[in-house]
């Protein structure tokens, strides 16, 4: 059974249930499934955490993932992994799980292969960057960044914000969608072996895309909230010089 024909480029076009103007398409259904897997899995694993020497292998897995993400955040943002971890880890886990489940053949369509999901994720990033920036360095300092080095650069900063949001969405969508299409085309011309190899390669591709999405988010947030620290450091060094 094939749920999405090769001429449909988005799982939005696979409509499963319709009642009036309420439509449940494949994207929504599989987003719910991914959310359920993440939430129920996290609940089952964190239900009996232990600090003893003997703990479950699932707890070990989650600890490895979370400490890996938080060390990655610490390297990019130089501290502050506590405040950035919820957003970054949520993005990473959602994208990684929804990409990795694409190894399930025939019945699963990754929700990240639809431009609507990726646009929603990158709009989240679009709003998270100024929120973290303002929370870290205050509205005036944050807005001053847009007029650096002179006020002429204001429209370019705005264009940069918009185009990187678009790029974030289209990159994830394009990679996952193109991988799905490559598997579908290979299934049509050389069945059985090569599509399986390509699907296995999809695991590494999905993880890399999730990694890139969260690292880019972290880089954007760090660049929006670190100018203040550089400014602070300049003041401190000036004070040290003045006292010396």
């Amino acid at each position: 059974m094939e749920i999405m024909s090769i001429s449909q480029i988005s799982p939005d076009q696979v409509i499963l249930w319709q009642w009036g103007f309420i439509t449940i398409n494949a994207t929504i259904l599989y987003t719910w499934i991914v959310m359920a897997i993440i939430v129920i899995g996290a609940w089952l694993i964190t239900r009996d955490l232990s600090q003893e020497i003997h703990f479950s292998r699932w707890q070990n897995m989650l600890e490895v993932i979370i400490s890996g993400i938080s060390s990655e955040i610490r390297e990019i943002s130089q501290g502050g992994e506590k405040e950035y971890l919820p957003l970054i880890a949520t993005l990473f886990l959602f994208i990684a799980v929804s990409n990795m489940l694409a190894i399930v053949p025939a019945i699963y369509l990754p929700p990240t292969a639809s431009i609507t999901t990726t646009a929603a994720l990158s709009i989240t990033v679009f709003f998270a960057v100024p929120i973290y920036g303002i929370a870290k360095q205050g509205p005036l300092h944050y807005l001053k960044e847009y007029f650096q080095p002179t006020f002429i650069f204001f429209p370019f900063h705005i264009m940069g914000e918009l185009s990187r949001t678009l790029a974030l969405a289209v990159r994830l969508f394009g990679n996952i969608m193109s991988h799905e299409k490559v598997i579908a085309i290979l299934l049509a011309i050389t069945p059985l072996f090569f599509p399986a190899v390509m699907a296995a390669m999809g695991l590494i591709l999905g993880i890399i895309q999730a990694y890139i999405f969260s690292v880019l988010t972290m880089v954007y947030i760090a660049s929006a909230s670190q100018a203040h620290e550089a400014h602070q450091k300049k003041i401190e060094t000036a004070e040290i010089k003045a006292t010396a």
Partner: protein, 92 residues
């Protein structure tokens, strides 16, 4: 040639051209980026983690250009708005 022939011909040819030219530049760019990262890693193996992370971010940036071209040619082949318009007009 009638309109439908012209539209389908133009769509197919420009999808091919879009992929061809659109992959050429990012391919060169990614090759140079990997080359630079490899020689940097050979010189300073201790900095491998930072280099790898920067390499992946940079590759993703370059790759997104090729992905734009791919999305455009997918739209031209599978979800062409002009083709839809013409077929709807002829059909209905």
């Amino acid at each position: 040639m009638d309109t439908m022939t012209v539209i389908s011909l133009a769509s197919i040819i420009s999808a091919g051209l879009c992929m061809g030219f659109g992959v050429f530049g990012p391919g060169m760019g990614q090759g140079r980026a990997v080359q630079g990262a490899l020689s940097a890693m050979a010189q300073q193996p201790d900095e491998r983690n930072a280099l790898t992370r920067t390499l992946f971010v940079g590759l993703a940036m370059i790759e997104s250009l090729a992905i734009y071209c791919f999305v455009i040619s997918m739209i031209l082949i599978f979800a062409n708005p002009f083709w839809m318009y013409v077929t709807k007009k002829v059909g209905g």
